[in-house]
Symmetry: C2
Subunit: 155 residues, 2 copies
C-alpha cells in the first residue's frame, strides 16, 4: 500500500511539525508513504478567500492523479477508528491504487477538490486548526495500520 498526504505548505507550528514527523516516521516503518507540501497562497488577505482557495486547489491538483482520494472535510463522514481502519484495509486488499489524503489550508478545500474526492472524512464534530488536523489524521492512520497489522499501540 502506498499512502500520500497532500496539503498546502509546510506545517508552521514547530511543535505540531515535530509531531507530524513523529507519526510519519512510525507510519513509514509499516507502509510506503510520503507527505507532499503543495503550493500555498501567500500574502493574500483572508477577504480574497476565493483566490486563496483557487491557488491552493491548483497546487493540489498537480499532485492528484488517479489515486483513491480521501479529503478532510468538516461536513464529511465521521467514523470510529475501527471503521476508518476497515476503510483503509479495504483499499489495501483491493485495488493497487495509492490512497491519497488531502487536507486544506486555513480556509479549507475548494469545492472542486471536495467533488473530486472518493471519500470525505470528518475527524470530529469539533473544528480543529488545519495544522492540528494533519497531526490527528496521521495519528489515526498510524493507529489503523497497527490494527491492520495486528501490532499493539498505546491507547
Amino acid at each position: 500500500m502506498t499512502l500520500r498526504f497532500l496539503w498546502p505548505g509546510r506545517t508552521k507550528n514547530r511543535d505540531l511539525r515535530a509531531l507530524e514527523g513523529f507519526y510519519f516516521e512510525r507510519i513509514r516503518t509499516l507502509v510506503d508513504c510520503e507527505i507532499v507540501p503543495t503550493k500555498e497562497a501567500r500574502g493574500l488577505d483572508e477577504k480574497h478567500a476565493g483566490k486563496i482557495m483557487d491557488i491552493e486547489a491548483r497546487g493540489l491538483e498537480k499532485h492528484i492523479k488517479d489515486d483513491y482520494i480521501i479529503c478532510l472535510f468538516d461536513k464529511g463522514r465521521e467514523m470510529s477508528s475501527r471503521e476508518f481502519s476497515k476503510l483503509l484495509e479495504s483499499r489495501w486488499s483491493g485495488a493497487r491504487q495509492p490512497v491519497t489524503f488531502v487536507a486544506g489550508g486555513f480556509l479549507g478545500l475548494a469545492e472542486r477538490i471536495l467533488e473530486r474526492a472518493d471519500f470525505s472524512l470528518a475527524l470530529s464534530k469539533m473544528t480543529f486548526s488545519h495544522e492540528l488536523s494533519r497531526v490527528v489524521l496521521l495519528e489515526q492512520v498510524y493507529r489503523s495500520l497497527t490494527m491492520i497489522k495486528g501490532r499493539s499501540y498505546a491507547k
Copy 2:
C-alpha cells in the same frame, strides 16, 4: 473563570508535552488555569486494569472538589466547537464554581469518576491516544475562549 485540568501523570511524549505547554500558555493569558498531574499507577501490567484504574481514580479524587467536572469519555457527548464554547460560557456567566476537566490515563477513567462527572465529553468518534486527547482538549478550550472573548484564532 478558573479552569483546571487533571490527569494521571505528566505527558510522556516530548512533542505532545511541548504542544500541551503551547496551548496552556495561551489559555493562561485569557483565564486563571492550572494543569494538575495526579498520581499515576506505575509498574503494573495491563492485566491489572482494575487496580490501575483504582489507583488513578484515588489520585484524581484527591483533587476533585466541588467543581463543575467535565470528563473526557469516548462514549460521552460529541459537540461542535461552537456548542462546546457555549457550554463553557454558560459556566462562566453562572456559578463561580471552577470548571475542572478530567482525563484518564491509557486505560481511561474508572466508573466512579465518570459517575461523579457533571458532563461527559467525547472529542471525536475516533479514539485518540490519551496523550493526544489532552492536546486536542487544550486546543478546543483555547479555541472556545477566543470565541467567548471575541478574539481571532487561526482556523
